[in-house]
Symmetry: C2
Subunit: 290 residues, 2 copies
């Protein structure tokens, strides 16, 4: 392969270490360690793994683990009451509702109860509006993690052509906003795009968040482009992404692997958001670590 | 010229007539006529003209004119108190703060006091978030007006390449979101875009909201494209837009004139939003006129 490998595991470790130092400074400055309330409803094994990792790494960064678990058959009112309780609790800096919730629950309605300043996943309508209007707010973790990777690898964005594949509320749409805020010329593609490969070939920076294994191959990549693969799928030969890694790595200038690319960044940015939230709630100034 | 002329004056009239019928139906159904509270601060002559037109056309559509005028030297607290009073008044369906406000005032802070369901200009962070997340809400009037023009002229959007020039919070950004919601492949350009003409030439639908007279010429237009000019500038020979009309009209398939294109749509959509707001506040179902 000729592309430079973008090492998300290493960058995520650096971000978590920076957050750990930020937590120490917050406490040393008379503040309180940030508290992360992960909320898991039910016993989905994949969700349990995700939540366990978030808790472990938040503790490693010096945060308080304020995890809450509800049974899978909980009713909407009880789940809502838990979110309200966490919203009112000053020890809780951030609330993370692990998705998906069981089908009988309205997860949107639960998210809407999270106060914007504790919305460390950046999922509330309020934080989406702040991002759209270019105002400070908590950004969704995955696209924020992509931005940190691009920054760490000095990928030029101002004036660059950026193409985002996928328009989800969680990733594609906020990704486009964040790239635009860094002065890229941004195109957003999706299932109705007529000639996906042709549009992708324009990209200096290509972010693929389609959720379809291998949708982007070498024919969709301009030589030298930076390719960021947000997809993650479990296949017969282990994990893979939305990008045909082997062939694209021969064309691209830089590429994220799966696993070890965007994945580790999501939790790292969750911790960064939790520190940012705690600082703001405690009236402490933002600094570089956040 | 070879391009079809998109007649915004005629479409705006049709929208206003539809709104007028919607108001009649609302009242006939036991509801109350919508009330539009235009708020003018100071005596800027251009703003006075805009507000006068909004009031005149809202009355023509059967709405209550709840105009308020504050002196140009009013302090922030007094202006905020007026917005709060209108927010609490059940006769007020929509609040329109005419911009720009005098420089000593924080207009963003005033807009933030408008309840989202009375934000008929679609400017609040809440409505920006609803748009970004693809949820129902009040949309900014100018981009909503562009969408209505495209719909009235049966311009295909699904799978089409749409290019938006300009990334303002009022026009460019919500415009991109609305085109994306109609399944266009959307590119957003701005002052840092490397080769604006090259990017614009990809567009089947080109919306120009740069605020720079004549920034888009014939070299930036694909033959047959639909060109929507949001710009309006007062020059030596009368009003003109962001598009070099005469030369582009020889290349485009359809084009909006300035004046008489997007301009009249903005007030029409304001009235449509006010009716939508009134219906929602009165618990009346949405119908086609809104």
């Amino acid at each position: 392969m000729t592309a430079r490998l973008i090492d998300g595991t290493a960058v995520a470790r650096k971000v978590r270490e920076d957050v750990g130092r930020g937590v120490e400074e917050l406490v040393a400055g008379g503040g309180v360690a940030p508290g992360l309330a992960t909320v898991l409803i039910g016993d989905d094994p994949a969700s349990e793994v995700y939540v366990r990792n978030k808790r472990r790494l938040s503790v490693q960064a010096g945060m308080q683990d304020l995890h809450r678990h509800l049974p899978g058959d909980v009713d909407q009112a009880t789940a809502a009451a838990l979110v309200d309780e966490l919203a009112a609790d000053p020890a809780v800096s951030g609330i993370l509702l692990q998705l998906p919730t069981p089908e009988h629950l309205d997860s949107d309605a639960l998210i809407a109860r999270i106060p914007p300043d504790k919305d460390v996943d950046g999922l509330t309508t309020s934080n989406a509006g702040l991002l759209a209007q270019g105002r400070p707010g908590l950004r969704p973790c995955t696209p924020a993690g992509v931005m940190t990777l691009l920054e760490e690898y000095d990928v030029p964005l101002s004036g660059a052509e950026a193409v985002v594949v996928g328009r989800s509320v969680l990733v594609g749409k906020p990704m486009a906003q964040l790239l635009l805020a860094q002065n890229a010329t941004v195109t957003i593609c999706h299932s109705r795009t007529r000639d996906l490969a042709e549009v992708c070939r324009r990209a200096d920076v290509l972010v693929v968040a389609a959720g379809i294994p291998g949708i982007v191959g070498a024919d969709a990549v301009k030589p030298g482009a930076t390719v960021i693969d947000v997809g993650i799928h479990r296949g017969e030969n282990g994990l893979r992404g939305d990008v045909e890694f082997d062939e694209v790595a021969e064309v691209a200038g830089a590429i994220t692997p799966v696993p070890g690319g965007v994945g580790p960044m999501t939790i790292a940015m969750l911790l960064a958001n939790t520190l940012t939230a705690a600082r703001a709630q405690q009236g402490m100034p933002e600094n570089e670590a956040g």
